[in-house]
Amino acid sequence: MSDPGRQGRFGEYGGGYVPESLVAACREVEEAFREAWVDPGFRGSLARLLAVHIGRPTPLTPVRRLSAELGINLLLKREDLAHTGSHKINNVTGQALLASRMGKTRLIAETGAGQHGVATATVAALLGLKATVFMGERDIERQALNVFRMRMLGAEVIPVGTGSRTLKDATSQAMRHWVGATEDSYYCVGSVIGPHPYPWMVRTFQRVIGDEARGQCASELSTGVPDYVVACVGGGSNAAGTFAGFVDTSARLVGVEAEGGAGAALGRAGVLHGARSLFLQDGHGQIVEAHSVAAGLDYPGVGPEHAYLRDLGRARYVTVTDDEAISALVRLARTEGIVPAIESAHAVAWVIRAAGAGELPSGATVLLTLSGRGDKDVSTLKEQL
């Protein structure tokens, strides 16, 4: 999981399939990022913001009661404890600092669960930038808490009523908007998707999860490295950030997708939102709408680096149903006092299922990135329970 070069390639995936109007803007972002990333001043500012404002490092929590029930040793990397309640803030902090450095005055973002939107609104407020967030109408309904938070933070939230009215169409709309606003606006992509340099840059900003977890596992586990590293996959940013810390170890990497949004597990190669990757498509090459109870996983594709890891066999991608995720959520709440985001609950659900099925050997150490907290999901859960 390294620099994908100027073309942004992960094997055959990635690249920059954007309208000519956006080519210069993407280049500008790439140049700025490359420059910033080797600048100790930028790295220092970022590290300090993550520490004093965002609350990093997040803890690694050994899960005792559920582990005992499952006969494994489960550890949670607690992104739910990061400021605003999910890992999304790691990436946004990096990108927003970059945008400031580039002299941009506004952030554009798409959001599904609203976590990326809230994170964007948050760091925009902190750095004195404006924020415009595109969000599908369906997601606006089911993530009302986050919509309100964004507005409290001063962001403009623009409802997207086209297509699936979820993350996919919000992303399309954000890209359209960016085309007309590249001069003063920075497009702050929320996952390891989009054209180069985004998948790589977002993963780089998110690898703080994996790097921290690697160090924490080293002191927490006698083996130093967990047997399994598990994370949920929407676009794939929390997974990519986590995997990055372990890709050079013997740990098995498992990405857990929503059954109805399983780009990596069930998709085929295509191009959407600027990258070649794996997408759910019909027999005519039309993108199929995803359907997941988790707004953040309700996306028909996956970041290009995941497509590559899948092809390499370095990571495995599995799926979990809505119902499995919801009962995993409740089970974690009741056994550990942690109400996870419904997205993160997918990862928990797979671990529960795999441990039950003997697929996870008894005694296995499992590091699971808990990407966010469940406060935002109350209205969804109320309906489902």
Partner: protein
Amino acid sequence: MTLETRLRDRRDAGRKLLMPYVTGGITPTWVDYLRAFADAGADAIEVGLPFSDPTLDGVTIQQATDAALARGATARDILGDISGLEHDVPLVASTYYNLVVHDGPERFCAALRDAGVTGLIVPDLPLDEAGDLEDAAASAGIDLVLLASPATPQPRLDEIARRSRGFIYAVSLMGTTGERSVVAESATTLASRIKRSTERPVMVGFGISTPEHAVEAARSADGVIVGAAVMRRVLDGAIPHDVGADLARMRRALDQERDRR
């Protein structure tokens, strides 16, 4: 005759080129629009192969796309509809790259050729990613049209002009397709910049909504592409005859402008 030869010939004859757009499969009898466009004096016609996620299109063409897909339109059917047609106007397919990837560039281009299409526009395929499709298109005798935008720096513009086939698609402004009230200044600047670097025809598209717009845009370019303005009428239920009449007005305005000079 290739698309490019055809357009060059007409341009060199002093004619300003007019290329209307229609979303393939938008109605059961959508090919009637092609006939009407031809009758109205179109020099080429852009046929959209609808894709579920048209990220460079504004609301009008998004709606047209949704309507066509909702009707069950597929690239295969649309090409089937075309291939049965008698016509003398070059057809230029336009779609997003995913449909190309889905078939593979070779099969995709072969299908276009078999349907009698001579040009191809893929708005989300910039120069840097175009290699595969350029090769496949060339083999199939399809002109792969590249787009240039106001943000394209000069050296890159030169390369686009060099590698584009058929014509160069000058995107008039930083934005999506869709009607606008005025022709952006950037359209003129861009068209002039491109024309300085190539002999190939330069067509301005995005936001050309009225005969006046067409005339203005065509001053520095070789012609105009009219998409959303046409599709707005189609979505509003205008029959081919009526949309043809609109285009005929545009045609006349362009012709009069030439005569006036």
